[in-house]
Amino acid sequence: MSLRFQRLILILVTLIILGAAVLLILFNTKQNIVFFYTPTELIEKKISSEKKIRIGGYVKESSLKKLSLNQYEFKVTDNSNDLLVFYEGILPDLFREGQGTVIEGFIENYNSFTALKVYAKHDENYMPASIKKELEKSNQWKKNYK
């Protein structure tokens, strides 16, 4: 086999290999690299309670209760399922009702959770505070969950 022919075959093989690799990766990453699970996924997948996991979602409106000085209880929702969360510690600044959050900890029962660490997740929307007030005045402010 001449070197030129070898190289031609090798180019073809490389292209096939890379194409297969891209297909494999694109079809399989979606489920894998998760920083957090949503409450629905938690119920669907029956994730075991021994391991430390992260749950992401929105803090449900009017569910945040202050139990004592720095003990909190709130619900994390993804609009279809809720999860009751207990947390002892300092909440980040951005943590408030209706805002996205990621919590890390252990599942207690099938729908309650003890958080060891709470992260606030902010979305890609930026807006001046004054405009938000005006929108609220004219009833055009709609916080839509993703």
């Binding site: 990453t29 979606k30 690299i33 998760v34 920083f35 957090f36 699970y37 992401g56 300092i90 909440l91 980040p92 600044d93 951005l94 943590f95 805002q99 990621v102 660490k117 709470v118 992260y119 606030a120 997740k121 902010h122 979305d123 890609e124 929307n125 930026y126 807006m127 001046p128 505070a129 004054s130 405009i131 938000k132």
Partner: protein, 230 residues
């Protein structure tokens, strides 16, 4: 017309003409940008902390842009044997590393008050940290080999291998659940950021790019002289 992009002497000529006006324009735009940032409104959620965005986003954007330029020139100089690409690669790598570091540090300072942590191992943060390491290795490589041709070509090939990381950084927030929020400005949809905050962001991005460009021009001129003397 675009000869200055591949020809050192044409580049030198053009650089000598535009450098002074460029410094002048850059300082005006930078001051304007800083002023716009100063008067820009506070965010409805984040308050004052949102102003870190005006450093974080331009430096992140420039870190990616620098790597893309290096990738482009690596292809150019390996495929078409244009030696100017090697000069650019060596001159531009430390600038990219600086912007990446600036992006990581400002992001970390932003993350502490907003997310409640300096650092999390999510896909976006990790891939940017890997890009910083790639930049550092490129700088190491440019000090390593004795033979100039070996050194330059090795750097170019390494840059090409490392460019796998670029799409991972760009799309990590769309493909996977991350703590980092998705991009606010994309081509396909209208930006989800208010105009009064978009303006200072764009001006700051232009200012940062111009600062990077000035440093790059100075470094490339120095590299051309070094290469001539060897």
């Amino acid at each position: 017309m675009f000869g200055f992009l591949i020809n050192p002497s044409k580049f030198n000529k053009l650089a000598d003409i535009i450098l002074r006006p460029l410094v002048f324009i850059t300082s005006i735009i930078l001051i304007m940008g800083l002023f716009l940032v100063y008067v820009s409104p506070l965010d409805y959620q984040q308050g004052l902390t949102v102003k870190i965005m005006y450093i974080h986003v331009p430096s992140a954007w420039l870190a990616l842009l620098t790597y893309s330029i290096m990738t482009f020139y690596s292809i150019l100089c390996l495929a078409f044997k244009i030696p100017f690409g090697f000069i650019i690669n060596k001159a531009v790598a430390p600038i990219g590393a600086t912007f990446t570091l600036l992006c990581l540090v400002s992001g970390s300072l932003w993350g502490k008050p907003m997310w409640g942590t300096w650092w999390v191992w999510d896909a976006r943060l990790t891939s940017v940290a890997i890009m910083f390491l790639i930049y550092v290795i490129i700088i190491f490589l440019s000090q390593t080999f004795e033979n100039r041709e070996v050194r330059e070509k090795t750097i170019a090939i390494f840059i090409l291998i490392g460019s796998i990381n670029l799409p991972i950084i760009k799309f990590s927030v769309d493909w996977w659940n991350t703590l980092h929020q998705p991009a606010s400005i994309s081509k396909l949809s209208s930006p989800s950021i208010d105009v009064s905050m978009l303006q200072p962001l764009i001006v700051m991005t232009i200012a940062f790019s111009l600062v990077g460009l000035i440093i790059a021009i100075l470094r490339i001129k120095a590299e051309i002289i070094i290469r001539k003397n060897h």
